[in-house]
Amino acid sequence: MGDVEHIPKELKLIDESGVRLDGRRYDELRPIRIEAGVLKKADGSAYIEWGNNKVLAAVYGPREAHPRHLQDPAKALVQCRYNMAPFSVTERKRPGPDRRSVEISKVISEAFASVVFVEQFPRTSVDIFIEVLQADAGTRCAGLTAASVALADAGIPMRDLVTSCASGKIGGVVALDLNKDEDNFGEADCPMAIVPRTGEIVLLQMDGHLTVDEFERAMDLSIVATKGIYELQRDALRRRYSAMAEQAMEAPPPPPIPSELPPPPDMPEDELPEVDDL
C-alpha cells in the first residue's frame, strides 16, 4: 500500500475486541469537520478536517477556459488539481505534481464531470483546487468531499453533492476509513465516491487483496458512512448561507467601487433548488 517507513512486524492494527489503534471500531469514521466559504478570492471554498487530514478546496468558474484550444464548444470542462503541500507529509514532498497527484487529479475531475451541469456553460472551465495541508491517509476522499461543498459554495449548478469515503482491510478485518498506519500496514484500501441520493458511484479505486465478499462488505461500510458525511456537507452549506444572510442584513451596502470581478454566470434560477434542499 502506501510508503512504509518502519515495519513493526508484530503491529496489531485491530485487537481481539475489535478496537483499532486509534480506539475506533471497524465501522467508525474519524472525526470530520467541514466549513464552507473559508477563502475570500475563490468563487467557492471549503475546509475539511478529517482525522488528522487538513484539506482546503477552492473553486473558480465557470470562467473562460484557456488555452483556447482546450475549450469545448458544447460544455464546460471540469478540471481538478490535487496538490500536496511540501510539509503535509513526514518526508518533505518536492513542490509540484508527481505521478500520484496527476492520477488523483484525473479521477476526481472525472468524478465531478457527470454531476455538474456542464452543458450550461460552454467554452468555460470549472476549476477545482484541492490543497492537502496535512495528510494522514484518505486525502483524496477528504479533498473530494470538500471540493463538493466548494462547488456548491461557488453556486455551480449540480445534480447533487458528491460524497467520498474509503474502506479497507486491516489485520484481516474489513474496516472503514483507514488512517495512515492502517493504510501502510493493512491489506487493502478501496476509496469510492458516490452521489448519495441516486447511488451512482463516480469514483472507485482499490488496491490490495479482497475476496468478493470482503469487497461487498467494504462497499457497504462506505455507503453507510457517506450518508452521514453528506449530512455534514449539507450542514456546512447551511451554516454558510445563514452567515451570508446575516452579513447581508448587518453590513452597510458595499461602497460603489467598480468591481473587477466578472458578472456572475447566467444561471437559470430554477436550477438552484437542485443543489440546495439543504
Binding site: 492520477e103 479521477v107 463516480v202 488496491d207 490490495g208
Partner: protein, 258 residues
C-alpha cells in the same frame, strides 16, 4: 491529446447496436477480442512480450539491473512501471512528457502487479540495504484500438513471466524472475445501459464509464480503477467483477502458455 471529434452518427450507431445486444465488431457483450502473445520479442530486454488484443498492439519490455532498495524495504527488489503513449500508435497521441492518461495507465498496471505480489521481491535482494534487483517495466503502445489498460497489463505479466534475472552480471547464475501470481485485469465499459467487456476504440470513445477489475487465480480482487466521466451503480460493479473473474480465467491460460 487533441480533442477528438466523434460524429454523432457513430455514437448513435453503436448505441443502437448495444440496445439490441450487438457490438460493432460482432462480439457479444462479455467477449474479449482475441489475444495473441509473443514472448521474448526483444533480445536486449531481460523479458519482453508483444501482445495483440484485437488491433491494439503493445510491446512491453522488462529491464533488470542492480540498484539500491528503498529504505523501508531493505530486503526487497524494486518494481517501477512507465508507459509511453507514442504518437506512432494513434493520431491522438502526442510526443512530450507523459500525459495524465499515460500516467494513470502505468500506475494501474503497476498496482495490478504490485498488489498481487506477482513477483516475489524478497528473492530479488542481493545485499540487504545495499543492493537489490530493480525491474523496469516499460509499456510501449504501438497501435491503439482501445483498452490499453488490459493490453498493457497482459503485456507486463507476459514479459515478467519470461524474464531472466541477469545474475551472471554479479558472478552468479542467471535465474528466471520468481513469479508467484497471475493477476489478470479485465475492463468493462458502460455504453448507455449496456456493459461490454474489452471495449474497442470506437466503443471506448463513446463509453460513459470504464471499470478495470484485476483478479487473481482465486478470483479475489486485487485492484480496481473506475474511469471516464460517467458512473456505475453497485450492481453494475458486481457484474464487472464477475465478468473479470470469468474472462480472466480464459486469458490467464493464454498468457501462461504464450
Amino acid at each position: 491529446m487533441t480533442a477528438v471529434v466523434i460524429s454523432e452518427l457513430m455514437r448513435e450507431h453503436i448505441n443502437r447496436l448495444a440496445a439490441s445486444g450487438k457490438r460493432s465488431d460482432g462480439r457479444v457483450f462479455d467477449e474479449p477480442r482475441s489475444l495473441t502473445v509473443h514472448k521474448n520479442y526483444i533480445k536486449t530486454a531481460e523479458g519482453s512480450a508483444r501482445v495483440q488484443l484485437g488491433n491494439t498492439d503493445v510491446l512491453v519490455g522488462v529491464k533488470i539491473d542492480v540498484g539500491e532498495p528503498y529504505a523501508d524495504t531493505p530486503n526487497q527488489g524494486v518494481l517501477t512501471t512507465s508507459a509511453e503513449l507514442i504518437p506512432m500508435a494513434s493520431p491522438n497521441f502526442e510526443s512530450g512528457p507523459p500525459s495524465p492518461t499515460a500516467i494513470e495507465l502505468a500506475r494501474v498496471v503497476d498496482r495490478g502487479i504490485r498488489e498481487t505480489k506477482t513477483v516475489n521481491t524478497e528473492k530479488l535482494c542481493i545485499t540487504p540495504k545495499e543492493k537489490v534487483w530493480i525491474m523496469f517495466i516499460d509499456i510501449h503502445a504501438l497501435d491503439y484500438d482501445g483498452n490499453l489498460f488490459d493490453a498493457a497489463s497482459y503485456g507486463a505479466l507476459s514479459a515478467l513471466s519470461c524474464a531472466i534475472v541477469p545474475a551472471s552480471k554479479i558472478g552468479k547464475a542467471d535465474y528466471p524472475l520468481p513469479l508467484e501470481h497471475w493477476p489478470i485485469s479485465v475492463t468493462s465499459a458502460k455504453i448507455g445501459s449496456s456493459i461490454v467487456v474489452d471495449p474497442n476504440l470506437d466503443e471506448e470513445r463513446i463509453a460513459d464509464a470504464r471499470l478495470t477489475v484485476t483478479t487473481d487465480e482465486n478470483g479475489d480482487v486485487r485492484a480496481m480503477q473506475k474511469g471516464l466521466k460517467g458512473s456505475f451503480n453497485l450492481e453494475e460493479v458486481r457484474g464487472a467483477i464477475r465478468t473479470s473473474q470469468r474472462v480472466g480465467r480464459t486469458l490467464r491460460e493464454v498468457i501462461q502458455q504464450g
